[in-house]
């Protein structure tokens, strides 16, 4: 990858990490009503996927994709608003934290049921194809090792393969599903072994190696764009945080920790060693990230909360349908 892509990648990783850290702090400060989930250790992989998307593509991130979301068009203010439940922003305090999204942007707002987003991405792609707007657009969907075992995931991956949709499924095998280790989650050698069973292309990479993530996601998305059908990418890495901030992850063993580095520290070191950026350049990225987040925090905290009396408590968009209710 060229230097500017690598530096941009680092910038997004840093912004993702800084935002997650700030959200955790807001949680500790009592500002966040719900949970805070972090992508710590997964920023390189997450950001790399979204970096090769373009306007008109569709992206369905999950709980560890703060970085990827930011790349695709989410921004710190929206992330913070949604966590602290302001009525500004897309979700208006009705839904929170990682459920945010913007369908107009192609950024799908996830539901919690794991695996449910994949077939929805399929639907956006099929609709584009049927109405002649597919061109070389793709859909990218994120999934964890645990969620690979839901029925929804299976049905959707097979569906994408049968329809030969330009779907890229980005699997983050981070060794755990909440507290459950992979050996209680799947019994195959590597989750990438599932690709052949769907008739999908496949790629793997070291999820802690930023350059490998960039190259691999670039390749996968390029393949999907040029009509090679759905692609599965599997990266191994380690979740470097609790499942949420409420979880101390005491179950993660030292042995596991010894096997995986922090993608962000590794990337900073590599880029420094290679002379791509120096210490002060990195410090500037951090300062910039923190500063922009601080601005967003200040603004978000000042924004109004939702007011129950203003709600019309109606789940239908066709208002005429509800007028009949007595």
């Amino acid at each position: 990858m060229d230097t500017s892509t690598r530096i941009t990648h680092l910038k997004w990783m840093i912004l993702g990490r800084a935002l997650d850290d700030r959200l955790a702090k807001l949680k500790a400060q009592g500002e966040v009503p719900g949970s805070v989930f972090q992508g710590r250790g997964q920023e390189a992989y997450s950001a790399a996927g979204a970096m090769f998307l373009k306007r008109g593509d569709c992206y369905a991130p999950l709980i560890r994709d703060t970085a990827g979301r930011l790349v695709f068009g989410d921004f710190p203010l929206e992330a913070i608003r949604t966590h602290i439940g302001r009525r500004t922003g897309r979700m208006k305090g009705r839904d929170g934290n990682i459920h945010r999204g913007d369908p107009d942007l192609g950024l799908l707002p996830m539901i919690s049921h794991l695996g449910a987003m994949i077939s929805v991405v399929n639907g956006t792609l099929l609709a584009k194809r049927l109405t002649g707007r597919l061109a070389d657009h793709v859909g990218l969907v994120s999934i964890g090792d645990g969620a690979m075992n839901t029925g929804a995931t299976h049905e959707a991956l097979n569906q994408a393969a049968v329809e030969r949709l330009p779907l890229v499924v980005q699997v983050a095998d981070n060794q755990v599903a909440y507290s459950t280790f992979s050996d209680r989650t799947y019994a195959c050698r590597d989750l990438v072994d599932r690709a052949v069973g769907y008739g999908m292309g496949s790629l793997t990479c070291d999820g802690t190696d930023a350059d490998a993530c960039l190259a691999t996601m670039h390749e996968a998305i390029a393949r999907a764009r040029c009509g090679e059908g759905p692609q599965m990418v599997v990266a191994k890495l380690l979740r470097l945080a609790g499942h949420g901030t409420h979880d101390d992850a005491a179950y993660v063993t030292d042995e596991m920790k010894s096997r995986f580095g922090d993608c962000l520290q590794l990337a900073e070191r590599t880029l420094k060693v290679q002379g791509v950026i120096d210490e002060s350049g990195i410090a500037a990225l951090w300062d910039e990230a923190r500063a922009s987040i601080q601005v967003a925090v200040t603004q978000a905290l000042a924004e109004p909360i939702p007011v129950a009396a203003d709600e019309d408590w109606c789940a239908y968009s066709e208002r005429n349908l509800t007028e009949l209710r007595a």
Partner: protein, 323 residues
């Protein structure tokens, strides 16, 4: 025209009128045209817009959500409504919540063949409306007539909100009516119809059971001079409580007859509305007649006993009128 033909007509017109419409479901494409033949001939007329799905109901529903978000108008056929259990999550947690959570509508239609046929057994005869209508956000429609099969399906496809469209399997081939779509009158989505006016009791039903209700009303008129007002709900969610309550205000009595199980079903919802909002008009307890509270039996004799019929409906109305 038969009920099934009315559905096919509506699908064909929707495909012709709106390029955003496409059909997706198991075995619906090609010359086969679906387990019940609702889509027969449509692949030839609309190539590439009638697609066979794998046996993956969750992904069928999910795909429809995504396509709807992307501006298409997906119409998904389930082979039997009983299999919508597999798509339950996508329907109630995804299709139904997206508008409220994000402000974006999800205009999809799921066509569900429902209801009992003798010999169909526990897994091909169910009525899914109770569990599709509890969560807020889905429109649930259940046409009882040939005209409604046509008009309500067209309305459903035009609707901005996700619609569960319940087609009664028994009516597919057994219900036939003279029907000219350009002439027929039609009530919109969300309105109940008074199928027979009356003054002595309000009898509420929907889907296949409407025909038993009408038979019961005719029997009561002939044999007992009792004039029953028969309401066909048409749309189960939202419920047209206005029409229901106005009728109760006139008759003072209410019987609900459905083919579904009683517990927490549409009949329970109607009775609650009637009891809580129509109490002052009631001259007798509002009551329901539903299916027996066990799975739908395979043997036709058990099946017949399991389902309400005109006679038993008439008995209950009589009891209510004589209260």
């Amino acid at each position: 025209m038969k009920y099934l033909e009315a559905i096919r007509l509506a699908l064909g017109e929707a495909l012709a009128e709106d390029p955003r419409v496409f059909l997706y479901g198991q075995d619906i494409a090609g010359t086969f045209g679906g387990a019940f033949k609702a889509t027969k001939g449509l692949t030839e007329r609309f190539p590439g817009r009638v697609l066979n799905a794998p046996i993956s109901e969750d992904a069928m529903a999910g795909l429809a959500v995504g396509a709807a978000l992307e501006g298409a108008r997906p119409v998904v056929e389930f082979q039997f409504g009983d299999f919508a259990t597999i798509a339950f999550n996508q329907f109630v947690n995804h299709a139904a919540t997206t508008y409220w959570r994000t402000g974006r509508s999800v205009p999809l239609v799921a066509r569900l063949p429902v209801g009992g046929t003798p010999g169909g057994g526990p897994f091909h005869c169910q009525m899914p409306e109770a569990w599709l209508s509890h969560h807020p956000g889905l429109v649930v429609v259940a046409p009882a007539t040939v005209a409604d099969a046509y008009f309500l399906l067209k309305d459903a496809i035009a609707c901005q909100d996700p619609v569960m469209f319940l087609e009664h399997k028994y009516l597919y081939y057994h219900l036939e009516a003279d029907f000219d779509p350009r002439r027929a009158e039609h009530l919109g989505l969300g309105r109940a119809a008074i199928r027979r006016p009356g003054t002595d009791c309000t009898l509420i039903s929907y889907s296949g059971m409407v025909h038993e209700a009408l038979k019961a009303a005719e029997m009561l008129s002939q044999q007992h001079d009792i004039e029953v007002e028969v309401i066909d709900l048409r749309c189960l969610r939202p419920l047209d409580t206005e029409t229901i309550l106005a009728s109760i205000a006139r008759t003072g009595r209410c019987v609900v007859a459905t083919e579904a199980w009683p517990f927490g079903g549409i009949a329970a919802e109607v009775l609650s509305v009637v009891a809580s909002q129509g109490f002052r008009w009631l001259d007798a307890p509002p009551v329901r007649l539903c299916a027996e509270d066990v799975p739908v039996p395979f043997h036709p004799d058990l099946f017949a006993a399991h389902h309400p019929d005109a006679e038993r409906i008439a008995d209950l109305v009589l009891e209510t009128v004589r209260f």
